[in-house]
Symmetry: C2
Amino acid sequence: MFESQVRPRLRPAREVRTRALHTFGLGESEVAERLGDLMARTRMPVVGTTVASGVVTVRIRSEGLTGEPSPAIDPTEAIIRERLDPYVLGADTDTLAGVVVGLLRARAQTLAVVESCTGGLLGAMITEVAGSSDVFAGGWITYSNQLKMSQVSVPRDTIDRFGAVSRQTAEAMARGGAQRAGTDWAISITGIAGPSGGSADKPVGTVWIALVGPGTADTRQFRFSGERQNIRDWSARTGLAMLRFRLAGREGPPLLRQVE
Amino acid sequence: MFESQVRPRLRPAREVRTRALHTFGLGESEVAERLGDLMARTRMPVVGTTVASGVVTVRIRSEGLTGEPSPAIDPTEAIIRERLDPYVLGADTDTLAGVVVGLLRARAQTLAVVESCTGGLLGAMITEVAGSSDVFAGGWITYSNQLKMSQVSVPRDTIDRFGAVSRQTAEAMARGGAQRAGTDWAISITGIAGPSGGSADKPVGTVWIALVGPGTADTRQFRFSGERQNIRDWSARTGLAMLRFRLAGREGPPLLRQVE
């Protein structure tokens, strides 16, 4: 009797609508600053943010009393997308790797990876997506300098002159990978995940990521913070984000922790 | 006054000692069966099990009242190690990958990986260990058959006759990887992580893992259950467990989900 008679009078059932917009490449505070008035507590629909593994998610929540429609979510979503463009990677169940695989599939293009400090983590993220074999050929874990040279044709001279963690080595890794795998795109990552291996010049967290693709190349330096696992995780996700920008037709806006 | 005067009389402070023994390769029920009387509720020290990512951990807990020594843990640990041998991989903060890296370092030997269905996950687990570059050269993510052939010398005929998921392809991947990387050891993994790609003959979860090393080779078939991520995770950990057996001088006892 309580359930059927009392509870409905205590708290009327509500119609709740929600949408999650996932972003990558901006810090949570930057997202909040851009959203500004949208995050006011009294506003409907309610807008808030959460963050996990570098992905800042904007959650829109709309509630209405029974019998009354909840305020529409779409207009708020449109404003948010405009303010956070081009960092919105998808909505609800979308993931960074899933979106990249989908964009590659839509273009019938293929991808290879060449990983040093991430040691396979980028490949693991991509192949977590069911059906990724349609677009992902595979790649190399060139953890040693020997494998960088012998497997993806990084010239010994490049490593000797600029170091394994450098723009030049990252670019050579990506170009060698795309060429050897015969793929349209390649992402390479080389950096210092720590806890040892850092120097004044190249502290722990220094990571170079290179992307090569049809008629395009994009190489960036990052300075990630945190523990070894955090640095590796950010490196892999940032590589995916760089490719997503290009596949979405964007020339590559700056990403969090990027060194100008 | 409550903290200083009352609480100590309510619940005397206890001396607590604990030890965790991590195992891989047996199911939790098999572990419990082997421990038998050790897990009786009235026994001291208390023995219980937990499981995470396939690692079954046996926890020993000993409590004594203040001023009285807690019962010794060592004799119980010795009995547990004997009953679960050779599946105990380490204690307390040890991890499967960390132990493998340590064993390789002690022997001054090196390792490469060749991954298909795991897509880099095995390499990622190994390189999660700080200092793994001492022993880990790197490897290949041969997700496509093309890369299996061109990068680690799997003969086209082998794939055509036996399939990409077969004993023969797994062995060729491992041998090609060790040879090309010039390492002492190589682990290869090829399987069907799903959700699609399975057949009556080779259902989703079918995984072949090959290990080659100095004067030794070990190739096994597994039938893992669960979702795509679970199958991939088990595959990578099982590859590490196969190597740990060999490095520990064991000829390779059966592992959970192994197909006889």
